[in-house]
């Protein structure tokens, strides 16, 4: 004998109705923190940190490049985590957050690649070098692009969330393998000369600046992701009472469906 029951709404980790106003209040704070930390970090990095002996002033792009790369990798894992939670527990808000993270993660990846190129050109003479870290970053961009393409190709939000979660989980599991294989590949083909990823020896002030920039990016990411998540949640729960109230619309017929 077998029983089939509905799996929907067995667990509710957070309701979009509570998330929406809360996130709305937090966004300006995160934005402010991001701006302050970024200003401080850039001031330290661009103006106060000493000029590097070998690379001159061109190395300063590292204060954007490295934090951006860290964020791109971190956000992928966080995205996969929330997507997995949304899938496993049917938690709609978790899926919404995962979808909101993806474009920001892709943006940081793109930023890391761009700044990597800007670093390489004055320092090593080429716009691009196929070293392990930059190549892995490029592959990470493909992983983000694949996720975004898949979820936008599926019309049904439920199926899109779950397919995206599966892809993100598969991607996360593969990232260490891909990175290892790229490192392997790179060490074999020792054509490339010194890689731009070889950062100059870190004075304390440089570390401080990088840390500040990382936190600034973190705060920025929170702000942007919350804004996006609010928009997605609103769009999905279009008919719900809380959505109408949120945009200041009287909705006599529909009752709350959250």
């Amino acid at each position: 004998m077998s029983t089939t029951t509905s799996r929907l709404r067995l667990y509710r980790f957070a309701s979009p109705a509570t998330f929406y106003p809360l996130a709305g209040k937090l966004v300006p704070w995160f934005a402010a923190v991001a701006a302050i930390l970024a200003a401080w970090g850039l001031w330290l990095g661009m103006l106060r940190a000493p000029t590097d002996a070998t690379q001159g002033d061109a190395y300063r792009i590292i204060f954007i490049h490295v934090p951006a790369a860290w964020m791109s990798m971190l956000l992928y894992v966080v995205m996969a985590f929330w997507a997995a939670v949304g899938w496993a527990f049917n938690a709609r808000l978790a899926s919404v957050v995962a979808r909101a993270i993806a474009p920001t993660g892709a943006m940081f990846t793109f930023l890391a690649l761009w700044t990597g190129a800007l670093w390489g050109k004055p320092t090593w003479g080429t716009w691009w070098v196929w070293d392990a870290r930059l190549t892995s970053e490029l592959i990470l961009l493909f992983l983000y692009a694949g996720y975004l393409a898949l979820v936008s190709a599926i019309d049904d939000p439920r199926r899109a969330d779950r397919a995206g979660a599966l892809l993100a989980i598969v991607g996360s599991v593969n990232v260490p393998i891909i990175y290892f294989s790229v490192v392997w590949w790179n060490t074999l083909h020792q054509g490339a000369s010194v890689s731009p990823a070889a950062a100059p020896k870190m004075a304390a002030i440089m570390l401080q600046a990088m840390l500040l920039m990382t936190l600034a990016f973190w705060a920025y990411a929170f702000a942007v992701i919350f804004v996006r998540a609010r928009a997605i949640a609103l769009e999905r729960d279009n008919d719900a009472n809380w959505a109408g109230a949120a945009v200041g619309r009287a909705h006599p017929q529909s009752e709350a469906t959250t």
Binding site: F142, L143, G146, A149, A163, L166, F180, S181, W184, W185
Partner: protein
């Protein structure tokens, strides 16, 4: 479950035999793609010998990915997939069977045809042997990952290109170790490290990809 597997593979092979031209299209693509490189790069034998492993491997990868969209599409359209899914716990068997038939119909012929290109690119005998060995190990990985992609993109309009975007990054380790093995042999070095790593990738994929594909089938059809 093993009977479901056998029944499905037998049926897919029979269907491929009835449409031999269609089944041969990936090989035709592979041939054309590989032949383009000398035309684009120049006929200098030294250059060709150097790029041969990479070229053959990339072309094999693309040929496999292009042919994999059809894996589930026709069965979805005529209702056969639904009937398969009715069998209790069938998803895993379906995923494994589809990957197996894809490899038998597309992957294995690629392996058989590859030595011809080895000769056309003036590769040495050992290098050609290494190419065949690496493809024997690597093409199942492509079929397994391609099956996952096909299940994820089941019924979507965007089809093959979306599948390639999603799945190709996951194939990169196999590409690196496979082509690397041939390059190592060509340079007179031992390819044992490459083969072990490629073998590890095969085992890892063979165990996990069908599970992920089964989950993707459930997501796509529920």
């Amino acid at each position: 479950m093993s009977t479901t597997f056998a029944v499905l593979v037998a049926r897919d092979l029979r269907l491929a035999a009835r449409r031999r031209i269609d089944a041969a299209l990936p090989i035709a693509f592979f041939t054309v793609a590989v032949s383009l490189f000398p035309l684009g790069v120049g006929p200098e034998p030294q250059t060709l010998r150097q790029i041969a492993p990479g070229v053959v491997w990339v072309a094999a990868l693309l040929a496999a990915m292009l042919s994999v969209t059809q894996l589930y599409a026709t069965d979805l359209a005529d209702g056969s997939l639904e009937q398969m899914l009715l069998v209790p716990d069938a998803r895993l068997a379906i995923a494994a069977a589809k990957a197996a038939s894809h490899w038998l119909v597309t992957g294995l012929p690629l392996v058989v045809v590859a030595p011809v290109f080895g000769l056309m690119f003036d590769m040495s005998g050992e290098a050609i042997a290494a190419l065949v060995a690496s493809l024997v190990l690597g093409t199942p990985v492509l079929s397994l990952l391609g099956g996952l992609g096909a299940a994820l993109t089941l019924g979507l309009r965007s089809g093959a290109v979306l599948l390639i975007l999603i799945i190709v990054p996951l194939c990169i380790p196999a590409l690196i170790f496979g082509a690397g093995a041939v390059a190592a042999v060509d340079a007179g070095q031992s390819a044992r490290g490459h083969y072990s790593l490629l073998g590890a990738v095969v085992i890892f994929t063979a165990v996990l990809a069908p599970i992920a594909t089964a989950a993707a089938l459930r997501i796509a059809t529920e």
